[in-house]
Symmetry: C2
């Protein structure tokens, strides 16, 4: 994300350009934190949190919608990257478990879902979303093939799980992470083939049933 065009003579962290390049990251991180906390937060809140003026924001993004889109797309890409790593795991079950832990920790779900509908998605985002769906499905199948995931689980159950974990939130971020991990462990136990109980209530979530958020709202 840092600007690679800065092979300047000086050590790479002084001067105006370098500061600006650093601001790129600072602003994105601030925006992440702010909009995760309140998806309707004003732009000024991001600027304050980043410790910069509003101009620094508008120099980088043409509009609030642009920033939101960028944030969301980054989250989506992160998701795809994680799930790609996961399907490469030789152990289908461990691949799924590790994947969920990392995605929950990174709070990717809040980024992609709570922000959805606040901006017009690009075609590229649609492709990435489709790809993420396919890969997640593959991940679920592999975990089932390994015999560790209940057979009556469907891909969309992963969406419900992520939704549930993302809903856990306390003021302290690290504590939030811990509580989510605990919640995730309970869910995984309930989803594992070892986990008792008869059938899960039907009908299971259907394809596309969780996609309504992506329709532009407002």
């Amino acid at each position: 994300m840092t600007n690679s065009a800065d092979a300047a003579p000086t050590p790479p962290l002084a001067g105006r350009r370098a500061q600006a390049a650093r601001n790129d990251a600072v602003i994105l991180e601030a925006a992440r934190a702010v909009f995760l906390d309140d998806p309707k937060a004003p732009i000024a809140a991001v600027a304050d949190r980043a410790g910069v003026g509003i101009s620094a924001l508008y120099r980088r993004y043409a509009s609030k919608e642009d920033l939101l889109r960028r944030l969301c797309h980054d989250g989506l890409r992160r998701y795809v990257a994680e799930v790609e790593v996961a399907v490469a795991d030789p152990d289908g079950w461990q691949g799924l478990v590790g994947f969920l832990g990392r995605v929950v920790d990174a709070d990717v779900h809040s980024l992609t879902v709570h922000l959805a509908g606040t901006f017009a998605p690009t075609p590229e985002m649609g492709q990435d979303a489709a790809r993420s769906g396919e890969l997640t499905a593959a991940l679920v199948e592999r975990a089932q093939a390994a015999g560790r995931l209940r057979a009556d689980v469907v891909v969309q159950d992963v969406g419900l799980l992520l939704e549930g974990c993302a809903a856990i939130r306390v003021p302290d971020p690290e504590r939030t992470r811990q509580l989510r991990r605990r919640h995730l462990a309970v869910l995984l136990a309930g989803l594992s083939a070892a986990g008792g109980g008869p059938e899960r209530p039907r009908p299971p979530p259907a394809a596309g049933e969780l996609d309504w958020r992506w329709k532009q709202r407002k």
Copy 2:
């Protein structure tokens, strides 16, 4: 909730007073639906949904905050009523399971938690909240005593569970209910003593750790 002072000669559903009494319920139900969907919704949205004018609202509630408080307190009372029924169940585990199902169906958690912080709570609400906590703790203990609930579960885990279920939401309310039930079943399987797995990640949620929402925000 219907006005019992209407033992009028006519069948009890005609006349201005009766219409007004019916509006009481209509407005409350509309407010429930609207604020459940968007806690920041404007008052006018409630009036529209109820099919009445704004005056009809302000005749009943002095302010928006008043209405929110009423809604939230109703939810809290509902919770207490349900948990009272549950602790009376001779089967500790079935008491817990049935209770969770009813509370999740009624979407009580969204009412009490997503609205919290948007109004100044009354002392009476504090008492009810305390009582609900005690009763829930008793419920958990009874389920553990029955040997059906894992020993490393704490009361606050119920809070996490409700939080997670409340986060599931699709446009159709009945479908939302079904998906939440499915999610709840997974969680219960993960929480039941039969459910496999070693220890749950520690430390478990602590007392009061989920109460930060009740601090007045904004």
